[in-house]
């Protein structure tokens, strides 16, 4: 393996920050969902890179779990978005502000 691990770490950080960027700047709930997926993938890259780095399969197994949970999360998130849409006729997260002061 010739690619140094720092590169993977930096790549995953960049990916994570991009996902975060999406969450911070977008108002569409769907974009939230996608940004979260990007962030989860960034974490997965880290896990798998370090799995190889340490010669241990735990990271890979964990990555599988994360994937499964991400799938679950998307299912739930989708349900929430649909309810949101049904109630507000919109998927803009700034519209539902009933839980404010």
């Amino acid at each position: 393996m010739n690619v140094p691990i720092e590169y993977f770490v930096l790549l995953s950080m960049a990916l994570f920050s991009i996902g975060l960027f999406g969450i911070l700047t977008r108002r569409n709930a769907l974009m939230f969902l996608m940004s979260v997926e990007i962030m989860v993938n960034a974490a997965n890259i880290n896990l798998i890179a370090f799995a190889l780095y340490h010669g241990n399969l735990t990271g890979q197994v964990f990555a599988l779990f994360v994937m499964a949970l991400a799938a679950a999360e998307v299912a739930i998130g989708l349900g929430i978005i649909l309810v949101l849409y049904r109630n507000f006729r919109d998927v803009d997260v700034t519209v539902p502000t009933t839980m404010r002061w």
């Binding site: 930096l10 950080m13 340490h54 735990t58 649909l82």
Partner: protein, 142 residues
């Protein structure tokens, strides 16, 4: 909807500075961390996929004993938990997605509208229209 892709830029990108800042901080930390040059890697001649399978199902006897890959922890319990969570997520998604008409669930997915489809009302969460009529608005059907 066949218009070409457009970038969405402008004022709303301002909070994104935070994300950039976070990347900067984390990158500084990562670059200042001394990683060892070579990776340990996996030994030759074993199947990583089977090893994952053994780990997931606690087949400790089958896990290769030679090489350094054998020290993977067993994950059966986690695996089962994840299975349960997935199941729960499936149910939850169904519950969230379905609508109720006066306490009676109607099919979450249906291709025909069950009432008059000329609804102009936004639907309410608990099903039914706000005026109390028993129509399930033919709004968004799936």
């Amino acid at each position: 909807m066949t218009n070409g892709p457009q970038l969405r830029l402008g004022e709303s990108l301002l909070p994104g500075i935070l994300a950039v800042a976070l990347f900067g901080v984390m990158a500084m930390i990562a670059l200042n961390t001394g990683f060892a040059d070579e990776m340990v890697g996996f030994p030759e001649g074993i199947s990583v996929t089977s090893e994952i399978g053994y780990a997931l199902f606690d087949f400790t006897a089958l896990q290769s004993t030679e090489g350094s890959i054998g020290n993977t922890e067993p994950f059966l319990v986690s695996f089962l938990l994840v299975a349960v969570v997935l199941d729960a997520a499936l149910d939850a998604a169904l519950v969230l997605a379905k609508r109720e008409t006066e306490g009676k669930p109607i099919a979450a997915l249906s291709s025909v509208s069950t009432g008059d489809s000329a609804s102009t009302q936004p639907a309410a969460t608990d099903g039914g229209a706000e005026d109390g009529s028993s129509r399930s608005s033919g709004g968004e059907q799936r």
